[in-house]
Symmetry: C2
Subunit: 104 residues, 2 copies
DNA sequence: GAATCGCATAAGTGTGTGCTTATGTGTAGG
DNA sequence: CCTACACATAAGCACACACTTATGCGATTC
């Protein structure tokens, strides 16, 4: 179940940090490691987990592999979240900002 | 960090099932167990995790404890998701539905 | 007030997870 | 070619996690 992969992938703070970094712009695995105190195999493993969760996708470029955010994973989270919209009115004020951002 | 608690809480399929059940209407821990093949301590532990993630809140009623969805956790997920809205246009069609639901 | 009920907590156990070191695979360059 | 490079994979290990059984605790009921 992909839903499980997504939440499990995001459960790790290091992986969320990697994802956040990629959200600022695609880059390869080595560039991702800079300023992150993480070994090369660990980064590779994290990227593998993010990839199978559809949160990230790869694009081979010579001997580099460029990674970027995959919108599919984000959309799946949004869908999951939408199931519970019945409880959002209680927080509707805080979400008005989000609504406007999304509507642009 | 609460963000970590939330994603870690949702990483477990049993906990997501409990949350989904509560989303259909608040109930106590015993009622939640029905049709779920889960021991009483396990349920109690899962509810404890969901509680500290602000996904669920409790309300004592005599010797029962009524649980219900806490909108705060959902709102925090929405906020996290909003950070990556830049990648949503690629999936905007699928999200139009969500937008309309939220706008009601 | 003793027994029962609803739930929480403690302690122990098997499995999963994230890391490490070591090695493999494919590409680029001299 | 042969070396260096970017990355993936394998194997092993320490720790976290979800479960179990046992017990505690407050509220109800008789």
């Amino acid at each position: 179940m992909i839903e499980n992969d997504i939440f499990r992938a995001l459960a790790d703070p290091t992986r969320r940090a990697i994802f956040e970094k990629l959200a600022a712009g695609g880059m390869n695995a080595s560039a991702l490691r800079k300023g992150m105190e993480i070994s090369q195999p660990a980064m590779s493993q994290h990227l593998s987990v993010l990839r199978s969760a559809k949160l990230v996708r790869e694009e081979r470029q010579g001997r580099f592999v460029n990674y970027e955010v995959d919108p599919e994973g984000l959309a799946l989270i949004a869908q999951w979240l939408a199931k519970y919209r019945a409880y959002w009115p209680a927080r509707i004020e805080a979400l008005k900002v989000l609504l406007k951002d999304m509507d642009q």
